[in-house]
Symmetry: C2
Subunit: 332 residues, 2 copies
């Protein structure tokens, strides 16, 4: 019998379709690409030596031989760097000029080193870079919301192979984030607790959907996961904004993120995926009702007319089975 | 300069990225499949003669040689036909047993006839079938929401080539539909008008985003279209629920839908697309604030980490340019 489950944070219902269900192994990439990826590609704009192919860098983590992480404005930015956010209100129409920030974070000089293959130390440099750029973008008075995300593989929306993440800072807040802030505030007012802390506590206690746990973080597949192998990586300490993270937490986040991505890499043969840091804007630092986390979303299925039309997802796998499968994948 | 536009119905902001923009022609399918599709495929479960490969039909539109449209339960349904929606409330957790209806609507006996290639009369039979099945599903006391949709092509989430649509009736209402009902009600309370009627009136008056207009329908690309060539096909007469449609309107809807799909077929070389009927549930029949319509969503771009994370879309084309391009495509 199929089952519908409810996400208490987003209020979304998800159909778990047992008639169509697949075993975790069936989500492995069918064709394993045996093509060896070189560590440097002469035409790649993100490889060392090709820095002139991108705009001038805004930040680097230096290394003995150059840089370990490099940040530059996107050459084809979704938003313009210059200008003020002019707002136009005309009857029911609203427009804002498209100003903001769009940066590319090159995660490693090595073209072939996907995040799952980096060291904990290298991933820590990426996390610290996220933190630096998040704070820098948040300090721009034109900016209302900062989104840090990664696209890995074609199904996840990237054609550039060199490991990189992106930051987009917009002059408006999205209805998705506003709705979650309001819903979690309402939960706080009603129950006197952070709904995210409650969910994480339950997941940690039950354990059936947990992939990895450390002193400071829990990684689990949510009770009402929208799609196969969707994962949530959440700090145990209550923090509304990603900018509140401490150095010791950033180091531990790097390690658990790297280990989680390694499990996906080994278990599902390097699946395409997105990850994104879901956080309150910096001005909500310290609020008791919101809680930042990382969503990791392997792109193993496609959304079709039903999802687009109803807003409801059909998940052909169970988070309990996905989690058990990933727990069984040994990583360093 | 890029521009952000606001959708007054969903409250979503969309980035129109001029730096990345493409001309309408660039969205044409790169490879034109020259493979001729046969009108009957021996292994296809939807071809005439193979009716035993699907569950027993629930409805047909008869024809001199058999059927013109045929409806049967999905062989691998997302929801179970039998049983009551048992509800489980346990702390913050909510579950409902996955009961409901999942039907396949085979649109034509001819395997090779995509909707764009059918006659107005044939499409009218499909619309009348939608109406019949929508009413039948809505009469089931377990059902809260009925979604009618079509997946055309692999990027739109289907692997079955034979032209078909689907109906899924769920025992819960989705937060997406509930939010839209509430937002449009609030607009009605504040301004005393249907927000959809207002938007359609503006679009029809301005004309720059209009693809086709008839006495009873307007087809336009929305001011804040989420993706290239996304289209809205809306009845001029105010109706909250699809079930309120009259026969004369169904005939005209068939013609304008067929002509719109033909423009996409000719202009973009048979793109993959979804369409969906966005409607209030039948119990809202007659309400003044909601308005049903058809969304047509060509699947020409991919959602990536930014969209998943922020909920905001980046559109690399302008609806005005898309509309002008489609107006220029001659169809019968």
């Amino acid at each position: 019998m199929p089952e519908l489950r409810h996400n208490v944070i987003t209020q979304e219902w998800v159909i778990f379709a047992t008639e169509r269900s697949k075993r975790p192994e069936e989500f492995r990439k069918k064709k394993i690409e045996t093509k060896a990826v070189p560590s440097r590609v002469p035409t790649c704009p993100f490889c060392p030596g090709n820095e002139k192919m991108t705009p001038v860098e805004t930040y680097i983590v230096p290394d003995t031989t150059g840089w370990r992480v490099r940040v530059a404005p996107n050459k084809f930015p979704a938003l313009a760097y210059e200008g003020k956010p002019e707002r136009l209100f005309q009857g029911i129409r609203r427009k804002v000029s498209g100003v903001g920030i769009h940066e590319v974070i090159v995660e490693t000089p090595d073209h072939s080193k996907t995040t799952a293959l980096l060291t904990d130390r290298e991933v820590e440099s990426i996390i610290q870079t996220y933190l630096h750029r998040f704070k820098a973008a948040s300090a721009d008075p034109r900016v209302e919301q900062v989104t840090l995300f990664k696209n890995h593989g074609e199904a996840a929306g990237t054609s550039l192979e060199h490991p990189h993440s992106q930051l987009i800072a917009t002059p408006v807040i999205t209805s998705l984030l506003r709705d979650r802030l309001i819903r979690s505030l309402e939960h706080y007012d009603e129950f006197g607790e952070c709904i995210f802390c409650h969910v994480m506590g339950l997941e940690s206690q039950e354990g059936t959907r947990v992939i990895l746990e450390t002193e400071k973080f829990v990684c689990f597949s949510p009770f009402a996961a929208l799609s196969p192998f969707s994962l949530t990586l959440m700090p145990r300490r209550h923090m509304a904004c990603f900018a509140e993270i401490k150095d010791s937490e950033a180091a531990e986040l790097a390690r658990i993120l790297r280990r989680t991505l390694s499990k996906l890499y080994k278990g599902l043969e390097d699946p395409d995926y997105n990850y994104v840091i879901r956080t309150a804007p910096i001005e909500w630092t310290g609020v008791k009702y919101y809680h930042w986390y990382v969503s990791i979303i392997p792109r193993l299925t496609k959304t079709a007319g039903f999802e687009l039309g109803s807003g409801m997802f059909i998940n052909v796998s169970l988070p309990e089975e996905n989690a058990a499968f990933l727990r069984g994948i040994a990583v360093e």
